[in-house]
Amino acid sequence: MSTSAIIACIIFGLAMLATIGIGIWSGRGREKSLDEWSVSGRGLGFVFILLLMAGETYTSFSFLGTAGWSYSYGVPILYLIGYLSIGLVVAYLVGPLFWTYAARHKLVSLSDIVEHRFRSRGLAILVAVLATIFIVPYIQLQIQGMGAVVNAMSYGAIDLKIAAIVSFIVAEAFILFSGLRGSAWVSVLKDGLVILAVAFLAIYVPLHYFDGLAPLLDRVVSEKSQWLTFPGAGDGIYGGAWFISTIILNGITITVFPTSIAGYLSGTSANALRRNSIILPWYQLLLLVPMMVGVAALFVVPALKDADLALFSVVIDSLPAPIVAIIGVAGALSAIVPMSVYMLSIGSMWGRTVLGGGLAGPKNAASMTPEQLNARGLRQKTLSQWVCLAVGIIALIMSLLMPDALVELSVLSYEGLAQVVPAALLSLYWPRMSKQAAAAGLIVGSVVMVALHYTGLDPLLGINGGLWAVAANLLVVVIVTLAKPDPRWVPAGQRQTRTEAAAL
């Protein structure tokens, strides 16, 4: 092992120990309940929500995929900034909406919200299973992303598979013990390192190779102008219509991601989330740096086999070992934090909705004594933790045994979760919507989406296949709802009597 590799390994090892330490320390002395574990007992103020949400948006994709896309295609990668910002705009309304609904009815996850709204555990299980199918590949991608980062930063000394196992152990260690609060605290370390690393790269890379940003831009304009307009370089599949449909679809969908919902539900008040939507657009500007480094890599390492390693190839080529290691740690934590929240959100959906008996009907729950409620909460929390561990193990095994099999599915993650939008979001605005409508829409939307994808028709007429599927989904929801409204819904004419009856 070279000296550089030894230095990198030591820094990496210390950082991982620090991560476990911070994560576990944050959870000490806290109440041991499902509420505390899944959504920090709704106790995260504005600053922690900000750090957590920023931490969730800046994943290992930002270091690997962002630079990689920029290297391979150019400006189509701007869709990332577009949809994350639109997601924040939508979240100004939707975040507080979910927060209010969950805080009012004491809910902890996406499937809880669906179960309570429709009084249907069956529909909630359908949502939980669908969300799991589309999120496990994301966990796997983070594990593999971490493997790639750590392997590169250690100059090949740490094997891909060992790095994957380390990421799994570190993430599980603090998420099982401290829950979402652990992720929020580790985000402090992570966001700090990411901002440092990115700010440094923004200045250093152009200076080191091109004597400044302006000469770099001039070279891109004169030699690689194809990268600077839609549809970008490559086969030109990512054109304007794809960009527009994708940022809108993803921007709305990201607000129902179980991980986003975990973040919303953990806030202390509606305004903690609204403030988050005001401030976080600034954070998206950081993503321009990996994009810039990806383009710089076109000149520095022109014939890269794996475009995703564009950023780290440049970093290793130009910097001494300790700095490479620190940037690597920022990249590794960018995999660990989102991965831990993904596992936690799947854990809480399964621990309560699928395996833990659900909400047991609001009426039954209301008749339970506080002791019974506590006991039920503890049982559901234990189940959630087991599922959280099991999901991590599944993702780890898949990333070791068949690293490519599920990457395909992760491409579909947003399109798949978009099908949950009517059931989770529209239903809170539209009292008439029934569970039959939600289920039918969910199934039709998912089938259309998968069909479009596997027949090679996605994008269809240049528009993201997920958007077509959501359109089909919505159409079905509207038709079925008109035919069969929610039994609790009362037509406008009779509403007055009902309000009076409720007041009596």
Binding site: V89, P96, V221, T229, P281
Partner: protein
Amino acid sequence: MSRNPSSVRQAGSPRRRYSLVLLIVPVVLYALTPVVANSVEPRIAGLPFILAYTIAVTILTWFFVWMTARGDRYYRHDLPEHIPSDVAFGEDHEIEEAGK
């Protein structure tokens, strides 16, 4: 306080939140990127136009969401969100403080 259930219930027909219209502006501006900004020229401070446009829109997103919040009485009074389904089902009761 504003979390009083009766005041929330009166919000059954909520007063208009006109400032929310501003939220559509950043969405439209981002969606217009390939239409109005799909070019390298004019370069602004050396940046290709499409990048300068994206940066400007991202900063404007902050501005428009902020202006939305300033004009939104739900934000000024830190009110929980109005949920039509809760109102329709008579479940729009007060939110208990966390930990109770």
